[in-house]
Symmetry: C2
Subunit: 244 residues, 2 copies
């Protein structure tokens, strides 16, 4: 279990990663503007190990998720209730105006355990190498994060969709990869020199649907959707428990 | 069809909506930091009209999505390839450092049509009213955005998950609402005074699975997942085409 401490939060006007832009435009003759952030498209991969009949996920501490829970433990200041774009909510766009505050040492409630910031996710990566195909980028992520070496040609495209429509609007493409123990060439875990601390976890096939709908297990929608996609599309090939 | 023109993009350091924060922390004794944004949790609602046997979705112009497509039409500058958090990609976190540039009037490629920024989404809203239950907030969104008045008690919780784990980490809860034409009390469309220009669209049940996997129709993962959830959980009650 990770140990998280010495938390300090500061406003950040010069982030290398989060750079808001504003677009002014006319929509049907009406002047409008919108704040957004540019991001790369991305790929995600549902990995199924045919030797152990397990899904292969990644699990990691997510500071942004942790900060959500950390905020919940604090007394809520009076909300100033500036109106944000409610329509952006499906993508959970960052429309909030109430920022976190620096923690006070005195009278603060106990901070949440590190586990409050850990999520289960599909293996995934940014599309930031223009010379590589989506399949090739997905292949690299499967190798780096999960330790399986599978040819790009074996990746099956599931579908694509828009993520973060309120703020980034990037396109994500989801793939399915069947691997076996024979394809396992390393431990995965991401690139520690980039600060990635990724744990590779296996979810047995017969537990997958229970896992998907267990709200006590923090996860992304990609995990839930892809497990159900597998259930619907691969069940003639592999048995999966459907008692949910 | 919306008309979009007079597009101008500027950096934005004082957004009311996108306010980056930086958290410094120790993870297992190692000093780390992460840029994130605070946001509200959200709800989304799969609406099924039992009179017309249609799903009820919202469709709107998303500036962030449009800007993604707008960027694609431009010649790519040499990428400086600062390393970002690749692990955040499943949530398509805004890790990019290359910002959009102001469009040049001369020699610019033609701008994409407005349709390039339009997405199909579930009815959704931010959890920004602390005194209301999730069900009550969902109920209000169904009324405001889609014009159906259904009691909160008739909303069925599907599940919850984390969105934007790299940047916001907020929790989204998805509901299912059955409505009939009798519940239709208005046109929906959101709140125009807040700039919402939401079109309510119906997807017939028998077209739903084709719609879900048609990548030429821009949509969120919530639409795809919820249609499949319906197929798996409501098909004993309602027939749905499965020829996908």
């Amino acid at each position: 279990m990770d140990q998280i401490n010495n938390i300090e939060v500061v406003p950040c006007t010069n982030s290398n990663y989060l750079k808001p832009f504003r677009v002014h435009y006319n929509q049907n003759g009406t002047k409008k503007s919108w704040d957004f952030m540019r991001t790369h498209d991305s790929v995600s991969v549902l990995i199924f190990n045919t030797t152990s009949h397990c899904f292969v996920l990644v699990k990691q501490f997510r500071p942004a998720v942790y900060m959500c829970e950390w905020e919940r433990t604090k007394p809520q200041p009076h909300e100033t209730a500036e109106k944000a774009d409610e329509g952006a909510a499906e993508a959970a766009g960052p429309e909030s105006q109430e920022g976190p505050t620096v923690p006070e040492e005195k009278n603060s409630p106990p901070q949440p355990p590190a586990s409050a910031g850990v999520t289960y996710e599909l293996c995934a990566g940014l599309v930031d190498k223009p010379d590589l195909s989506l399949e090739e980028i997905a292949r690299q992520e499967v190798l780096e994060e999960c330790g399986y070496d599978v040819p790009a040609s074996k990746l099956r495209r599931i579908t694509s969709y828009r993520s973060g429509v309120g703020v980034t609007g990037a396109k994500q493409t989801m793939f399915y990869a069947e691997v076996s123990d024979d394809n396992c060439v390393g431990e995965g875990g991401g690139e520690p020199q980039e600060g990635e601390l990724i744990e590779v976890v296996k979810v047995p096939l017969h537990e997958a649907m229970t896992f998907a709908y267990d709200e006590s297990i923090p996860k992304t929608m990609g995990v839930i959707f892809s497990f159900i996609w597998f259930h619907n599309n691969m069940s003639p090939k592999y048995k999966i428990s459907t008692n949910v």
